[in-house]
């Protein structure tokens, strides 16, 4: 079979940077406001079933009660227990930074002290062998000047011994 001469093929390489605004809503707005201004992690409580949600919810997932009563907000943590975890094994593009995720990357399913419903966040520990069930962790919160009012104001959860 006669081979065609190697033709030059053109590839277009560009980066799109699309700005967005996300209105976080009443409940998450309040959570982020407290985290940014006071460095406190809050949970809110359902008046019907009594469960404490951290991250706070505006509607209880069990009985659908509206949970916007501010007097039912309680500070939780900064310590918690890792109930379970998962490891990211494959890197992918993070749309917020345009960079690839640094692996190994561990996400802990954490029950904050005082909360009944879990939150998930990055663990400082990246060695899977060192992550034990029910290990104790503590939230590492960014210094006030660097806080932006989003979940990354909690940098990650570091392992503590208690």
């Amino acid at each position: 079979m006669k081979q065609k001469p190697q033709e030059e093929l053109i590839y277009i390489n560009k980066t799109m940077k699309i700005p967005y605004k996300w209105r976080t809503g009443e409940v998450w707005g309040e959570f982020f406001r407290e985290l940014k201004e006071n460095g406190i992690i809050y949970a809110n409580q359902c008046p019907t079933c009594g469960r404490q949600f951290c991250l706070p919810k505006s509607v209880c997932t069990r009985d659908h009660t509206v949970c916007t009563d501010r007097s039912k907000w309680i500070p939780v943590g900064p310590k918690g227990t890792v109930v379970t975890y998962f490891m990211a094994e494959q890197s992918f593009l993070l749309p917020t930074s345009g960079e690839m995720l640094k692996i190994p990357f561990a996400v802990g399913i954490i029950l904050m002290d005082g909360a009944t419903v879990i939150l998930q966040h990055q663990l400082e520990e990246t060695d899977e062998k060192k992550i034990k069930p029910f290990m104790r962790v503590e939230a590492v919160i960014r210094p006030k000047a660097e806080r932006k009012g989003n979940i990354f104001d909690i940098v990650h959860f570091k392992t503590i011994t208690e």
């Binding site: 033709e7 009443e26 009563d69 007097s71």
Partner: protein, 151 residues
Amino acid sequence: MEAVKKEPVIFEGFVIMPYKYSVGSMASKFFIKIRDSKVISGAKCPKCGFVNVPPRSVCPKCFSKVEELIELSGKGTLQTFTIVHYESSVQALKPPYAIGVIKLDGADTGMTHFIGDVDAKSIKSGMKLEPVFRDKREAEIMDIQYFRPVK
């Protein structure tokens, strides 16, 4: 019952999307000709003779396979245009700018591109235009910087 404060907390961020796409065989030849020779070409259908710019490998009129590129003068007629004032981060130029459909001499389709070197109020459909090429060309559509009125 004191409800949570109603003032919204608005998080502002960016979604950053690097992308790479291969333009294909016909478009590669089109861009290479612009980059190397400052010549705009069209695809001529061997069956019905329809010339489309930018060139495609399937004729949009009769769906025959097209492999032939013909060189065009680059000059053309402005079919329609608009002046854009709205600003967004995904634009190639900062507004205000004029963008229009130009039917090149010898082509049967129009191509979209910017119109420059002219006062916005003087732009009229039917104007004769010619391309202005960038000095540093990289085989992409902006190697044609804009079209300007023929003097």
